[in-house]
């Protein structure tokens, strides 16, 4: 899932200068799970903004709405008719989909979108995938060296691994230590003998914004005509 954290409130307040109608838009998907932008956080933001408006005489008309997934236009019809500013508690993807669908709205981010990761424990979320576009975790015991090694080494560990920890931060486990242990558990340490060659970075961010087309799902000519999408 996509990991995000709440933006500091003073930043949000600054972005709302000059606003009148403010809609706080929560998302029940990723940002709800990482406790940054779900219904609960959207309601809290609505109350905080309303209170600020009352205290400072801003005259904001603040409301809140939470949708199933802000990154899919099918779920965004409840926003129709809203004018003014949207504080998006969804990830950066959701915020941009909302902005694209409703160009006249002013969309401001209520969260900082960080990475693709997973919950490690209560309230702890850790990056797990860098979205490099060329997955090789079958060679590395299911552990991504791009996302989880600070240096993104394909053939590790480096000399900075001490006691199973990364030299970048003692809180970060050495990904390659975990890979070695994982391969040992699987009885596949022979994989460590093979050199993983330099990777093709073109499917990664290096190639600019990426576009994936599922040829089966993408509409053909008749479907496009029926949907009026020519």
């Amino acid at each position: 899932m996509i990991i995000a954290e709440r933006k500091p409130l003073p930043e949000v307040l600054e972005m709302l200068e000059g606003a009148k109608d403010v809609l706080v838009l929560g998302c029940r998907a990723c940002t709800a799970i990482c406790l940054a932008g779900g219904e609960r956080e959207a309601v809290e933001m609505r109350e905080a903004l309303s209170l600020h408006s009352e205290l400072k005489g801003k005259g904001w008309n603040v409301s809140a709405l939470t949708v199933e997934r802000a990154c899919e236009r099918e779920f965004l019809s409840p926003i129709e008719g809203h004018t003014g500013t949207v504080v998006s508690m969804a990830c950066g993807v959701g915020a941009q989909v909302v902005q694209g669908l409703f160009p006249s709205l002013r969309v401001v981010p209520g969260v900082n979108t960080s990475n693709m990761g997973a919950p490690e424990g209560m309230g702890v979320f850790v990056e797990r995938c860098a979205g490099c576009g060329d997955c090789i975790i079958h060679l590395t015991a299911g552990i991504c060296p791009i996302a989880r090694c600070a240096k993104g080494l394909l053939n590790g560990p480096c000399g900075g691994s001490k006691g199973g920890r990364c030299e970048v931060s003692p809180e970060t486990p050495c990904a390659w230590e975990q890979i070695v242990k994982g391969l040992e558990a699987q009885g596949r340490t022979d994989l460590l003998e093979a050199i993983i060659p330099p990777r093709d970075w073109r499917p990664s961010r290096s190639g600019g914004p990426r576009r994936i087309v599922n040829a089966e799902a993408a509409p053909g000519p008749a479907q496009r005509e029926w949907r009026g999408e020519d």
Binding site: P8, L9, L13, R40, E44, E47, L49, L51, H52
Partner: protein, 124 residues
């Protein structure tokens, strides 16, 4: 008015004892199953509905019936206090007190602390 979200097991009995002695006419008690269950939005809404301060009244940290509910509430109160500060109010308007059901005095002192944060006179 100071809205007190009181844990049914510890906070509420302590608050009721304190109320018997008078001087807490500005206190509104709301019973909750655990202070850890108090929603942040609910706390902020209390201010919009006229509260001058909000006090979470929960179990002693080592004695929470829900194990860590009052610990969660304590962190939440600290964060909401910061939120109040961020939106232009004064710090200390949201506070947490940990007590056992017989500690009515501790409840009274916590209310006084919130009053002071609001610049109110003691015993208003």
């Amino acid at each position: 008015m100071i809205v007190c979200y009181c844990c049914a097991r510890s906070g509420m009995p302590a608050a009721l004892r304190a109320m018997e002695d008078g001087g807490l006419d500005d206190v509104l008690l709301r019973e909750v199953p655990c202070t850890g269950a108090v929603e942040p939005g609910e706390v902020l809404r209390s201010f919009r509905q006229g509260a001058d301060g909000v006090l979470l009244v929960g179990c002693l940290l080592e004695n929470c019936a829900h194990h860590y509910g009052s610990e969660v509430a304590s962190r939440r109160a600290a964060r909401l206090s910061q939120v109040m500060s961020d939106i232009g109010s004064v710090p200390g308007k949201v506070a947490m007190v940990h007590l056992a059901e017989h500690q009515a005095d501790r409840f009274r002192r916590a209310v006084e602390g919130v009053r002071k944060a609001n610049g109110q006179e003691e015993g208003r």
